[in-house]
């Protein structure tokens, strides 16, 4: 049996009645499917910190959510942009500066306030080990979901798209983890959350370079 190109085109044209879903829709579905797994890890192993009702009045506690959710949203926007084959990071990468800017503002805000605890102690904190294991553990299912969703797209740079998916997953995971962690200093967030996000970006890049090729 042969299939010359005109014949293939005929089959493709006949299939035009099939209306594919957008990448954004498929990505949302995949993330929603993965979220319960991450939440299960959170509630089974960590849970919300006991003093949460007083903590929410601390602007640095709230800042952790602002930074991590900003990271997740900007990474979603960038990854959807990159799912188009002709797209590049140029003109879109600045989205990722939003969470970094929030964090920088938080650090300088904290610097201007009188502190009882020395800077290095705030940076090292008391939860760095838990942070470095819990955030990647909760991020992994979300990364898997994000990659499955983004497979519906057509990124020309699959490793870059995978790295952004890693940032996306760590942003979401860290936003949940922040409710457990008692270290609220932006210095702690800038150090350990960033390390966890970098780790997920590296895993995402590796997985993306295989999974996201089309």
């Amino acid at each position: 049996m042969r299939m010359d190109t005109d014949q293939l085109i005929r089959a493709l044209a006949a299939d035009n009645t099939h209306r594919p879903r957008t990448v954004g829709f498929v990505l949302m579905l995949a993330l929603l499917a993965a979220a319960p797994v991450s939440l299960l890890i959170f509630f089974a192993e960590l849970g919300v910190r006991p003093d949460v009702m007083t903590a929410i009045h601390n602007p640095f506690f709230d800042l952790k959510f602002a930074v991590t959710i900003a990271l997740a949203i900007s990474a979603i926007a960038v990854s959807l942009h990159l799912s188009r084959p002709e797209a590049s990071l140029r003109g879109f990468g600045w989205w990722l500066l939003v969470p970094a800017g929030l964090l920088a503002a938080g650090i300088s805000g904290e610097m201007m306030m009188p502190q009882r605890v020395p800077m290095m102690t705030r940076l090292v904190g008391s939860n760095s080990k838990i942070c470095m294991t819990a955030v990647p553990a909760m991020a992994l299912p979300l990364l898997a979901g994000a990659l499955i969703g983004l497979r519906h797209g057509a990124p020309s740079r699959p490793a870059v798209a995978g790295a952004i998916a890693g940032l996306l997953s760590s942003g979401l995971a860290a936003a949940v983890y922040a409710a457990h962690c008692t270290d609220d200093s932006p210095l702690f967030v800038a150090t350990w959350y960033t390390l966890a996000a970098a780790l997920m970006a590296a895993i995402g890049a590796l997985a993306g370079s295989r999974m996201l090729r089309f």
Partner: protein
Amino acid sequence: MREREDEWTDLMRSAISGDGAAYHRLLKAVTPVLRAAARRGLARAGQPVDQSEDIVQDILLAVHLKRHTWDANAPFAPWLFAIARNKLIDALRRRGKRVFVNIDDFAETLPGEAAEQTASAGEVAAQLQMLPARQREVLQSIAVENASIKDTAAKYSMSEGAVRVALHRGLASLTAKLRE
């Protein structure tokens, strides 16, 4: 050149809103340009150009299955050439060549050259044999025998919906098999 690309964009917009005839015309119009570019890419990599038809079919399948990633407000040609460039690089890599495809191969300054099909493609046809019987029959009926979806449904006592599903699944798994 500009006119041609504007025409492509218009055709693709009609296609997205459900005009199958416009879609058919668009695919027919871009194919000779893709073929010329594939030949140029192969020649530059020192590969026999008679493999170009496999690459052309690979590109067309990707265009079809990824057409929802095209932004209807953007011109069509840059999107098309980005897909084509990816597929050409893939094809050359699979042949063990570490090459960098020159962006100019697909740039907007692409000369008006258009190549007719001379060599035949083998990869898609070979993978076709591996499909489940139902998908293969439907594809063969519509592509090779030029039957409509309605006639195909009657011939195999299927509903038209089932023919559409088999056609789409067949094209999707064909593409998946080509990537292996």
